[in-house]
């Protein structure tokens, strides 16, 4: 068991490492129009787009103009999805005749998908028409990811340039990242997923005849219990693969179905699961390399990458250990949780905490997926996080609270991590009594004000939001599990929304006007409350002169800086969240020790 665990996780790490550099080279080449092949194939399309929208790739923007473009583009997207949901009954491709989505749920979902959160208060296969899924949700999976990449490139340009008034052109960045990065990768992944069994059709739901009829208890018109028997199974259909691919590659995470990537039609085999996990980290890892290349010092990129990778390994190890160790309650009641392997090495069962997990994934593929999806801002799940062990729940929740800087969302993970790098440099500067510098730029009051804002905005949303939700009746009524775990459900929801993750302790009944509004506010400010100060830093950095490296310059590459950076992330995350975590997963773990 242990050996397969090491091999499975090791294979993932190695594949990711191998793909990081090619992905990074591709990203930096296509984003700057330096790839001859792409210029030939995509050039005419790109030029046609720029003509239609009335921009020129040479026409660059200052940071405020860039920020305004980001905001308007995203607001347009949100309004569109809102009305698509409200009018879906009168629009085509709705074979199940789903009615209009409620006002509060539509607003929540619109903001959720625009902010790359993809929190889902609704059950996909019982709510959304095929048209809403593809024209609304799939589109925003692309565009929110493209927005993240664009903002990151603007920030990198801020570091890479000097005495410049501009940080790029948002329309160009969004167009190129969609056409040359997200679209081709999604198409390849979608086809590969179909090969594994992910569906892609526009049929109505299939009625099949089961061989063993199912009896169940339901209520009749008078509210009395009656037993009914059915021998049909209605199987949900839809254009799933195309949405699934970008859902992972764009670190979006909004499932076509309620059960998300646990649903066999979203994630049918261990191989599809492996590809989906890889797709989550592929672009964020590549961006680290692209960053190093663009600032002219690849070591800078690898340093950031290493810090992320080290945090990630520790988190994965903790989740794997906790989930494999299992839940003593199950053993106490007579279930066998040991990993049983025959003498020839064949695993008869994975054992461990299998509540809320799928057999084909077992413990290893589930725990690895859970750690990846919350390290990145993906939020897709292949196991129900509400049923994770307390430590598994703690790791997933805390990773989101750290700001999703361990690879993180496409673009957003790295731009937030670079802010932490600025913070690390600042702290180090205080310790040694020198003016802090990062990549040849002085870090001054204005940048530190913005950095402080970025670091404070999500904790405010998470902690105040949680406090509010557990203090009012509308918030408490949604809690599904008793005790400390119930508090964790609320804390998880706010952490997920404010950090734009989208996964959930899904027992929480969040499709209510209260939670839909609260979480929409958290998602909106958690996204744009960071993007705008990040762009402000980009603008201010771009305008600065570059200072030559001297003996007094603290190197921001190498093991020492990796440790400093990890220290900054963990310190801020721990100081901010340990009190809240103590009330949830920590209490739960202590209770579990007594069984």
């Amino acid at each position: 068991m242990l050996s397969n665990m090491v091999v499975q996780v090791g294979l993932f790490f190695i594949t990711l490492l191998v793909l990081t550099k090619p992905m990074g080279l591709w990203l930096s080449a296509v984003m700057h129009g330096e790839c001859k092949f792409i210029n030939k194939v995509g050039g005419p399309v790109e030029r046609a787009i720029y003509r239609l929208i009335g921009t020129s790739p040479e026409g660059e923007m200052g940071w405020r103009q860039y920020a305004v473009a980001v905001m308007i583009f995203n607001v347009v997207g949100a309004i569109f999805i809102y009305f698509l949901q409200r009018w879906q009954l009168n629009l085509p491709l709705n074979p199940q005749q789903f009615p209009a989505v409620s006002v509060d749920s539509s607003i929540n979902t619109a903001i959720s998908f625009v902010t790359n959160t993809n929190w889902q208060g609704y059950a996909g296969e019982a709510t959304m028409s095929y048209l809403t899924q593809m024209l609304g949700l799939t589109v925003q999976n692309f565009l929110s990811a493209a927005t993240g990449i664009a903002v990151l490139f603007a920030l990198i340009r801020g570091f890479a340039r000097h005495t410049s008034k501009t940080i790029g052109n948002f329309w160009v960045d969004a167009t190129r990242s969609t056409l040359y990065v997200l679209l081709p990768l999604s198409f390849l992944l979608a086809v590969a997923l179909i090969g594994q069994g992910v569906i892609q059709n526009f049929d109505a739901y299939q009625e099949v005849t089961t061989i063993n009829p199912t009896s169940y208890i339901t209520k009749d018109a008078a509210g009395k219990d009656i037993t009914q028997t059915t021998n049909t199974q209605t199987i949900a259909m839809g254009p799933v693969a195309s949405q699934e691919a970008i859902k992972m590659l764009g670190t979006n995470g909004g499932g076509f179905f309620n059960a998300n990537s646990a649903h066999p039609f979203e994630n049918p085999t261990p191989l599809s699961n492996f590809l989906e996990m890889l797709a989550i980290f592929l672009i964020p890892a590549g961006l680290c390399f692209a960053f190093g290349k663009m600032v002219g010092d690849k070591r800078q990129g690898w340093t950031i990458f290493s810090a992320m990778f080290i945090i990630f390994i520790v988190m994965v190890a903790a989740t794997l250990w906790a989930e494999q160790s299992g839940n003593p309650v199950l053993t106490a009641n007579g279930a066998d949780q040991t990993a049983v392997v025959t003498e020839s090495g064949f695993a008869l069962q994975s054992g461990g905490n299998m509540e809320g997990k799928e057999t084909r994934f077992g413990i290893v593929s589930s725990a690895l997926f859970a750690t990846i999806t919350t390290a990145a801002s993906c939020g897709a799940v292949n196991a129900m996080h509400d049923s994770l062990t307390p430590i598994g729940g703690l790791v997933t929740m805390w990773q989101m609270q750290l700001g999703e800087v361990v690879f993180g969302g496409v673009g957003s993970g790295l731009y937030t991590m670079l802010i932490y790098a600025v913070l690390a440099v600042f702290i180090a500067g205080l310790m040694i009594g020198r003016t802090p510098e990062y990549l040849g730029k002085k870090i001054e009051t204005y940048e530190m004000q913005m950095t402080a804002l970025i670091i404070l905005v999500t904790p405010l949303l998470v902690l105040i939001g949680t406090a509010l939700a557990v203090s009012v009746a509308d918030g408490v009524v949604g809690i599904a599990n008793p005790g400390a775990h119930g508090f964790s459900e609320v804390l998880y929801a706010l952490s997920s929304a404010a950090n734009n993750n989208g996964s959930a302790f899904a027992g929480l009944s969040a499709n209510t006007p209260f939670y839909n509004s609260l979480l929409a506010v958290a998602m909106f400010f958690g996204r744009f409350g960071i993007i705008i100060p990040v762009l402000a830093i980009a603008g201010s950095m771009a305008a600065k002169k570059r200072i030559p490296v001297s003996v007094g310059t603290m190197p921001t590459h190498g093991p020492l800086f990796v440790i400093l950076l990890i220290g900054a992330v963990i310190l801020v995350g721990a100081l901010t969240y340990i009190p809240a975590l103590a009330l949830g997963p920590v209490v739960e773990q202590l209770q579990m020790l007594n069984i």
């Binding site: 103009q65 583009f73 969004a174 679209l183 649903h263 039609f265 509540e355 809320g356 057999t359 593929s365």
Partner: protein
């Protein structure tokens, strides 16, 4: 430079917003058509042309009627069938139009109660069976549609199925072995048994 950074006015913001409106709208429309219409349609065409079986749900036919999908589990309650894992879908188990997990926390008393009831049902259906009860057979899956059980969970049910069908343990064992999938590429995921396929194969066995 410092002036453009901090000395901004509302009218400037308004002008920038107005200037961005047309490109924002146009780019949104264009990218919506590309990613929301062309991309899913091309993927559908390729999928339907190249891999129609998978793209349409890997449906299983028996005697001309569709009896299920290889990837979607079904509920089995009769003694002669291998039982699937507990499913939390509503209003009945294995509702493939309403996927869902149980979302019970590890210390939720309801989880402990559910485990007790499920174990009691398994023991009652096969009173002489003293094998340990595999955890996956008494815990709800994530999707509520898990098509598989672990090989250990199949092994546990062998004696019950053999008795109900009046067949030898060896012949049932043979069927289990035939329907056991190894780890994919020998590394990924876990070994597993597809319950629906195994039960369909049992039904079509020639009675001795």
């Amino acid at each position: 430079m410092q002036e453009t950074l901090s000395g901004h006015s509302d009218t400037l913001s308004f002008k920038l917003a107005l200037k961005a409106l047309r490109p924002a709208l146009m780019l949104f429309v264009i990218l919506t058509i590309i990613t929301g219409v062309i991309y899913p349609l091309v993927t559908t065409v390729v999928g339907q042309w190249w891999m129609p079986f998978q793209a349409n749900g890997s449906l299983i036919e028996k005697g001309g009627i569709v009896v299920g999908s290889s990837f979607i589990g079904q509920n089995f309650t009769e003694a002669k069938y291998f039982w699937s894992r507990p499913s939390a879908t509503g209003p009945y188990s294995y509702n493939a139009a309403a996927s869902s997990g149980a979302n019970q926390g590890p210390l939720n008393p309801a989880l402990a109660d559910a485990i007790k009831i499920r174990i009691a049902a398994l023991r009652e259906a096969d009173t002489d069976n003293k094998l340990p009860i595999p955890v996956d057979l008494v815990t709800a899956s994530a999707s509520g549609l898990d098509p598989h059980i672990s090989p250990a969970a199949a092994q546990y049910q062998l004696t019950r199925v053999a008795k109900a069908r009046g067949l030898s343990a060896e012949s049932i064992q043979q069927m289990i072995d035939n329907h056991t999938e190894s780890r994919q590429l020998s590394i990924l995921g876990e070994p597993r048994v597809n319950v629906l396929q195994l039960n369909l194969a049992l039904d079509s066995m020639v009675q001795p």
